[in-house]
């Protein structure tokens, strides 16, 4: 392979690297700044997972029952 071929090959690799870096950065921006666990938010359109929680009196509630109307969930705590 001649010098020109090597240069083209290098340029291709650089292009691949550049695309990979951009994709990584774009993914990082989509995820936001991350969290303590580094987990993603669930995708819009995904089904709310079925998890057992409790109501404020301590009775068991399944999140699968949160259907039939729009539901707003806001995470919070005392601190």
């Amino acid at each position: 392979m001649g010098e020109k071929g090597e240069a083209v090959k290098k340029a291709r690799w650089l292009a691949v690297l550049l695309v990979a870096c951009c994709a990584t950065q774009a993914a990082a921006q989509r995820i936001g700044t991350g969290s303590a666990m580094g987990a993603d938010l669930p995708a819009v359109g995904s089904v709310l997972p079925d998890i057992t929680v409790y109501d404020q009196r301590g009775q068991v509630v399944s999140t699968a029952t949160l259907r039939g109307s729009y539901t707003v969930l806001v995470f919070g705590c005392l601190t």
């Binding site: 700044t33 819009v44 109307s69 969930l73 995470f75 601190t79």
Partner: protein, 362 residues
């Protein structure tokens, strides 16, 4: 959030706050609950102090819902009638939520304003003082360790243990009174004492500690200690604590012996302690195990500290640095849009230069 709730709950939208592990244990004295009952007590306390009518759900003790929905401390979701997530926001933003519901459910004729709510402001309970025993300065960054009660006890754990691994070689132990039980340190009684039993392969030195001698008759400051830590094991350290639990109403003051298990593994739900401010009154109590002085965020140099203080005068920094620790964490960056919106004091929909001018330090 309450205004959005008042407008859209009558339109058939269900609202829930979801209680999960504390984001900043120690803030306002609140400490990590050890069981579901204590979590429910936290919810009751949150409803009381916030004056909110929004119902709460309580996540499981292993925070399964929080983990399933991205592990953010203040995230927000809208779920449609078929159970599909149609809005997922890393940080709750009531103004944006209202827009979402206008789009999904329809606008309301006269949106409720905060001034319309007349939310009660509960009086602060009279408690023994804080700021008597200066906070312990950590030499560097720390990560929370998993702690669990070491025994089934009919008596509540009036004191909770917070454990952190400091720079991979030191063990922070903080004994925090749980404000749910309205107890204080009776400084006329013997100070707390504890011993640490380490599993094979681990050495903690010293392997015991004693609380400080404090002049004030009573206080509610944490008792903090730093130990040298060598080795690792999957088995937990066992910490046995002896202290007097004394309630504010002076109905009991009883000796307690309780144990804790400290696992040398990071607790992903351990949250981040807020850095205590410089003690105004100064304290005479000096817990054994470490120097006591006001600390800079993450051990900043003096010059960096001055620069950080300058930065803290800017409103933009002030609203972003929600926990006022002089740093902007990734969680705080998640909430940047909602935080910046609060700078729009005249509510004209934009942030103007006058709203960004530095303010004197409070």
């Amino acid at each position: 959030m309450e205004t959005v709730y008042r407008d859209y709950a009558p339109r058939g939208v269900r609202f829930y706050y979801v209680y999960k592990a504390l984001a900043h244990p120690g803030t306002n004295g609140y400490v990590t609950p050890y069981n579901l009952q204590e979590r429910l007590q936290h919810i009751a306390e949150a409803k009381r102090t916030l004056g909110t009518q929004i119902p709460w759900l309580c996540d499981s003790m292993d925070n399964a819902l929080k983990h399933a929905l991205g592990d953010r401390p203040n995230s927000e979701f809208v779920v449609d009638p078929r159970g599909r997530i149609v809005v997922a926001r890393a940080w709750s933003d009531p103004a944006e939520l209202r827009k979402d519901l206008e789009r999904l459910v329809g606008p309301v004729d006269r949106p409720t304003r905060v001034a319309d709510l007349h939310m009660p402001q509960p009086p602060a309970a009279e408690r023994p003082p804080r700021g008597i025993v200066p906070p312990l300065e950590l030499p560097g960054r720390s990560v929370p360790l998993r702690v669990q009660p070491g025994q089934d006890s009919e008596q509540p754990y009036y004191v909770k243990l917070r454990a952190e691994l400091v720079q991979d070689q030191q063990l922070y132990l903080g004994f925090y009174l749980d404000p749910l039980y309205l107890v204080h340190w009776n400084n006329e009684a013997p100070a707390l004492q504890y011993e640490i039993v380490s599993p094979a392969g681990v050495r903690v030195s010293p392997d015991h500690g004693t609380g400080p001698s404090v002049e004030a008759k009573a206080d509610v400051d944490p008792r903090e200690f730093l130990h040298r830590l060598e080795g690792r094991a999957t088995e937990p350290l066992r910490v046995t604590l002896r202290y007097f639990a004394c309630d504010d109403a002076a109905t009991f003051c009883k000796p307690m012996t309780q144990t804790f298990e400290v696992f040398l593994q990071t607790d992903p739900d351990g949250g981040q302690r807020r850095v205590p401010r410089r003690s105004a009154s100064g304290g005479r109590g000096v817990p054994s195990g470490g120097p006591q002085s006001a600390r800079r965020p993450s051990g900043l140099s003096r010059e960096a500290d001055r620069a950080a203080q300058m930065l803290q005068r800017f409103p933009l920094f002030q609203v972003l640095d929600r926990d006022k620790d002089g740093l902007i964490s990734s969680e705080e960056l998640d909430g940047a849009p909602a935080a910046i919106r609060r700078l729009d004091r005249n509510r004209n929909g934009r942030v103007e230069p006058s709203e960004l001018r530095p303010r004197p330090l409070r």
